[in-house]
């Protein structure tokens, strides 16, 4: 009677345990092969197609140059990593109105019995558009041969950078009351060495006399524009405030390609020279004007 009770208790425990403990554990005692062993032992080229895992990638432009962006992809074949066609892995990176990038992804190593790691390397130029690009990676296996795809996004950052020359503006000797006095060393050439898309802004500062400092030529006596010989009717500057130069553009592009890509010019004029003392006026006291992409 007592033995029957013990048997019932053990039977209940055994039944409950079987529902919660992995079958693999009991396989140790039964000698039955586990599911993991079955995967390793596959030697027949597989009927299953590959599965491609592409992680998100990102990079920030390199001023005036190129940036290499590397991303790793995993290719899994349920039939075993030996069934993956290691020379079939290629990427394509696209974005509307941008040049598509393509390349191969060389095999790196096996990270498990069914998954291999591949490294994709691409190059982005400073002028290429920021934000999300689409990555598509393709690969196939030996047995099935079906070309499969994996996708994700590549985020390319924004770079607000430019190269400006010259860094000062000069006028020939101008007479008080004179009109339409154009600067004699413009334009200011602004090369966009990043991919920032915007207008060009200038913060003007009143010019003070270098001898009689209390006298000045106010900033709003100056105009700046992007078209030569129209600068005297272009955008008037404002003392201490950033003003967008009408018609200007940061114009991102491949500067090396020529034809004005990636470049902008700014011309300056004093439409009406105020009635001030004859002396040199400059930004030495009030501080420099500031050029920026808005």
């Amino acid at each position: 009677m007592r033995n029957r009770g013990v048997y019932i208790v053990f039977a209940v425990i055994l039944l409950l345990s079987m529902t919660v403990i992995s079958a693999g554990f009991w396989d140790i005692f039964t000698g039955k092969a586990s599911s993991a062993d079955q995967n390793v032992s596959v030697s027949v080229v597989g009927a299953n197609a590959v599965i491609i895992t592409v992680p998100p990638a990102s990079g920030t432009p390199n001023e005036g140059g190129s940036r290499t962006i590397i991303f790793n992809v995993n290719v899994t074949d349920p039939d075993g990593s030996s069934d993956i066609n290691t020379t079939s892995v290629r990427y394509e990176i696209t974005k509307a109105a941008q040049t598509t990038k393509t390349g191969s992804c060389p095999f790196q190593n096996n990270i498990s019995s069914t998954t291999s790691n591949f490294t994709c390397t691409t190059v982005f130029w400073y002028y290429e558009a920021s934000d999300a690009w689409n990555i598509r990676v393709e690969a196939k296996d030996v047995g099935n041969g079906t070309l499969m795809n994996g996708t994700n996004n590549l985020t390319y950052g924004s770079l607000n950078a430019f190269l400006m020359s010259p860094s000062s503006i000069t006028w020939p000797g101008v007479a008080t009351g004179g009109t339409n006095q154009q600067a004699n060393n413009d334009p200011t050439l602004i090369n966009n060495t990043g991919n920032y898309v915007s207008n060009i802004s200038i913060t003007g500062i009143d010019l003070n006399g270098e001898t009689i400092q209390s006298e000045m030529i106010p900033a709003n006596n100056f105009r700046a524009g992007s078209v030569f010989n129209l600068e005297c009717t272009a955008t008037p500057l404002v003392n201490g405030s950033s003003v967008v130069i009408a018609g200007s553009s940061s114009n991102p592009g491949n500067i090396s390609a020529g034809g004005g890509a990636g470049q902008a010019n700014i011309y300056y004029c004093i439409p009406s020279v105020p009635l001030v003392s004859s002396q040199i006026y400059s930004t030495n006291q009030g501080g420099s004007w500031t050029v920026s992409y808005t």
Partner: protein, 177 residues
């Protein structure tokens, strides 16, 4: 004497032309833009990089950073950074959004300036750069029901219950005996 004056004039003219030809090249970069916001949850802290770049010149440059918008969730270790010639520098920007921060998003605007020495002309031109993006905020997702973690806990509870049940049965049987 006339020759000396002529030479001096020529030298000064050349120097003036060289000074006017000095170029200014630098910039500010970020992974996040108006179209690619930084996504965070309330109560979260996150650090991202602001790229300062100083290329195409032979001298180092000091950048002054000012937070124009978003200073209530954004902090920066220093406001002044020196970047060597032909170099880049990643400046960490740390964001902390309090749990009770009321807004669903926050605009971030950073203004970066670099000092410009007097260039010898009437008007000296300096440069400035801005970077703007939004921080989009959401409530942190709670762990869904039946998740792996909960499942693991249930298994442990079940095993402990079985052991306790076994001990109780054995104890009762021993008492009967």
């Amino acid at each position: 004497m006339r020759k000396v004056n002529l030479l001096l004039f020529a030298s000064l003219s050349l120097l003036a032309v060289m000074l006017l030809g000095i170029v200014s090249s630098a910039g500010v970069g970020s992974l996040y833009t108006k179209d690619n916001p930084l996504k965070m949850t309330y109560g979260q802290t996150k650090t991202i990089d602001l790229l300062l770049t100083n290329k195409g010149v032979s001298e180092g440059k000091t950048f002054e950073i000012e937070i124009k918008q978003g200073s209530d969730i954004l902090s920066i270790e220093k406001t002044s950074y020196f970047v060597n010639a032909e170099s880049e520098l990643n400046v960490p920007l740390t964001f902390f959004v309090p749990e009770d921060y009321g807004k669903p998003s926050q605009a971030i605007e950073l203004s970066v300036k670099s000092g410009t020495p007097d260039q010898g002309g009437m008007v000296t031109l300096g440069t400035a750069w801005t970077t703007t993006f939004n921080v989009e905020l959401s409530v942190a997702e709670e762990m869904p029901e039946g998740s792996d973690a909960e499942g693991g806990i249930l298994i442990y509870v079940l095993i402990i219950a079985i052991i306790i049940l076994t001990l109780i049965v054995l104890f009762v049987m021993k008492r009967k005996k």
